[in-house]
Amino acid sequence: MSALTPTLAVLEFHLIGYRRTWRGSVFSSFLLPLLTVLSFGVGVGAYVDSGIDGVPYLDWIIPGLIASTAMQVAMMESTWPVLSRFEWVKTYFSQAAAPLRISDILGGQLAFTLLRVLLTAAAFLLVAAGFGTLHSAWAPATLLLVLLVGAAVALPTIAFSASIHSDSYLALLFRVAVIPMSLFAGVFFPVESLPDALRWLAYVSPLWHGVDLCRAVTLGVAPAWSVTGHLLYLAAWVAVGWLLAHARFRRRLIG
């Protein structure tokens, strides 16, 4: 039995639960990008004559939308479902009673989340390719980047969800973190257009780094920061997020 076997057993549990809802989620994975492309590309894009960075507005926002969708899927899977597995259904407690370690329980949760992120981003990327918005042979690398973005936002969110006892805090999290990040992290317009204070918020958020990298690979342009800098910054979110989530899980499950 390899060291990963118990983590895979936890992933298997999540996948068997997912079997009941996957059809709906695959449908919306395609529908959402399609509607977005139509509204922004055809609707808003018609008013942005000049384009940005020498490409049409739609092509410019597509990588941002993919990164932002990855973040949203990662956060959805890391909020109510995680809270429920501690507070309502108590799945994690049943897992902790089996010969699993905290890292298996957390790892299985994360693996499932990343799989959902990957599938959603892949659907988006297919739609984007269908509309001819990808300009570089590096575009498939988007799928690796969304995994990094997904882990960078999922882990701290899991840590947060494992620290609270009521879902009213989750609504707050979406208001103070998800919505501002979606709006100001360079998805819809370059962060350079923002006043300094807000621009720094964008730089701090993990999403902007993901957006900038995704844009670089779909458009074949140089990112605003060094690639290594972006990757290290996101990796730092993953590492700190894992430590926090692991500590919160331990505190809740083993007391």
């Binding site: 076997t5 068997i16 259904v89 108590k90 799945t91 897992q95 089996a98 010969p99 699993l100 007391g255």
Partner: protein
């Protein structure tokens, strides 16, 4: 790593659990040999569940020695848990999965191959009489069915030691009896059972030996019969006098039986021969409004040892 002290599946000396300033378990000594059905009895807050969590290796002891299957829970947690079955106080089944999937997914946590897991799930569903609900979701099941499914899940790894935290709390009498009957069958198969309960009839039905816990300590230990002999009389006479006059009549009963306990609604007269004691009551010209002569039960022991004051 193999059990050095194999005859004692649970071995605790001076076991302690503190949460901040609160001491939940205050230095208990317990030995549970293989094949025994052992009970932790006590009122709410006595430290039963905290003890069970330490035995289940999901709560590190604050002090004392604890060996489960001869191993150290702090170091060998996963290896011990691989050989335990745990039925928690509150069901934590997955409502989205089917009855059978709840067992097969859980089996995978123990590294059991899928094919074996499916086969074992079917056997266990037969055992807990849920085979006909195999494909249904968990949500609509009754409390008794869910509890049986939780017990089946605890058996999926063919454990040597099964921990049951209040296994029949909240179940109706039919459901309780079915659970007892299944647990008794497990016991006959040689599985070691450790349970907590505050139902005295449950302890008398299932336990070979038990400890009564109170405020984190062990107040008494022995077989149900031992404890009744030691802490109570063979029989109890329950005498009811008109409301609010129990205290007056109690004075008139002095010298009868071994012990008298006055409750707001009745008087308990502890005596080895209940009928003889009752005859003496009547000889003194006392006419209670109702009389019940019964055998002493573990409940009498329990209330004697832990008091009648409500804990929470």
């Amino acid at each position: 790593m193999t059990a050095s002290n194999d005859h004692a599946l649970i071995h605790a000396r001076g076991l302690r659990k503190r949460f901040g300033d609160f001491t939940a378990v205050d230095g208990i000594d317990v030995d549970v040999p293989r094949g025994e059905a052992f009970g932790f009895l006590g009122p709410n807050g006595a430290g039963k569940s905290s003890t069970m969590r330490m035995v289940a290796c999901v709560s590190p002891p604050t002090g004392g020695t604890l060996r489960i299957l001869g191993m150290d829970p702090l170091r060998d947690g996963p290896a011990i848990r691989a050989r335990l079955g745990v039925c928690p106080q509150l069901d934590n089944l997955d409502p989205e999965l089917t009855v059978r999937e709840n067992l097969t997914t859980y089996a995978r946590y123990f590294g059991i191959p899928r094919r074996v897991a499916r086969q074992r799930a079917d056997e266990l569903l037969d055992f807990v009489q849920l085979a006909d609900r195999s494909g249904s979701k968990v949500e609509p099941l009754s409390g008794g069915m869910k509890r049986r499914l939780t017990i089946a899940r605890a058996l999926v790894n063919q454990p040597e030691l099964v921990l049951l935290d209040e296994p029949t709390t909240g179940l109706d009498p039919q459901a309780r009896h079915l659970v007892w009957e299944r647990l008794f069958r497990l016991k006959q198969q040689g599985v070691t059972l450790v349970l907590t309960t505050h139902y005295m009839d449950e302890a008398e039905q299932l336990c070979d030996r038990l400890v009564v816990m109170d405020a984190g300590r062990i107040a008494a230990e022995g077989s149900p019969r031992d404890l009744i002999t030691r802490y109570s009389t063979r029989e109890v006479v329950e005498l009811r006098f008109p409301t609010d006059s129990q205290q007056d009549f109690a004075g008139k009963l002095t010298g009868l039986g071994e012990r008298i306990e006055v409750l707001p609604d009745r008087i308990l007269l502890y005596a080895d021969d209940g009928d003889a004691a009752l005859a003496q009551v009547q000889l003194r010209g006392l006419e209670p409004t109702s009389v019940l002569v019964r055998r002493s039960s573990l409940e009498d022991v329990f209330l004697h040892l832990t008091g009648r004051t409500l804990v929470d």
